[in-house]
Amino acid sequence: MNEISITHILFLSTALFFIGVYGLLTRRNMITMLMAVELILNSVNINFVAFNKYLYPDNLDGLFFTIFIIAIAAAEAAVAIAIIIHIYRNHHSIDVEDNEEMKY
């Protein structure tokens, strides 16, 4: 049963994190960039749960961090989508290249 150690799970979450980073760097649409951020947050959650289960099973800190990260991710997604809809209403585009009024 212990053939799969925490190292395998950490490799998986590393790969998921850098898939999210790749998406964040290549995409120029705000909604897909938000999806990339969700992937990154998920990989961090996997790390917290794996550390808690395999290394420090005598307390539950990792689980609470995971639950709080999920709650913050939900709040962040709601606010980000509200901002995106507002930008779309004013500019008719949610491409980051088209929205650069605050740049200068």
Binding site: S5, H8, F18, G20, V21, R27, L39, F64, I85
Partner: protein, 172 residues
């Protein structure tokens, strides 16, 4: 190779395959659906680790909440069948190099660190224990972050409503 390992590798392939597809497909609605399957795979990984409460929270909040919100915002902001403009080849190459270098470096560090498992103690993740510790204000309690996060959720809700609301004053 036991069924335990086979299930882990199947879950890993499912998560990574759907994640790559979600980040590379050119149709935005398909990206949202692939993201949905990635999040379901992560919930399956929590079930595989026997952390049932977090898996249930993952399915409820992410799959039931955030992905539905993203799909609604896709419907509100653009036509879902439309193809997104592709990234330039230069940007793809350099982003890929950055991601692969970062993943390689992190993987190297993980493989050389040598984690020692602690198989004796058993994680008590019953819902009763989680609830007791979360609302406890003794040493191991998380009552203060719980209250802070409830205020954060309230502020985010009000903020989302205020931002997305049409301002009648400016129109008239």
């Amino acid at each position: 190779m036991s069924a335990y390992e086979i299930i882990f590798y199947l879950l890993a392939a499912f998560i990574l395959g759907n994640g790559i597809l979600a980040m590379t497909t050119t149709k935005i609605f398909r990206a949202a659906i692939f993201l949905l399957f990635t999040l379901i795979g992560v919930a399956g990984l929590y079930f595989w680790m026997q952390i049932e409460f977090v898996a249930a929270v993952q399915i409820i909040v992410y799959v039931g909440g955030i992905v539905v919100l993203i799909i609604f915002s896709i419907f509100l902001t653009q036509q879902s069948g439309l193809e997104m403009p592709k990234a330039t080849l230069q940007r793809k190459i350099f982003s890929g190099i950055a991601a692969i270098c970062g993943a390689g470096l992190t993987g190297l560090l993980i493989s050389q660190y040598g984690f020692t498992n602690n198989p004796d103690a058993v994680l008590d993740d019953s819902v009763q224990n989680i609830g007791t510790q979360m609302l406890d204000y003794e040493d191991v309690g998380f009552a203060l972050p719980f209250e802070v996060i409830s205020i954060l959720l309230l502020a985010a809700m009000i903020g989302a409503i205020v931002i997305a609301m049409k301002s009648k004053v400016e129109e008239s």
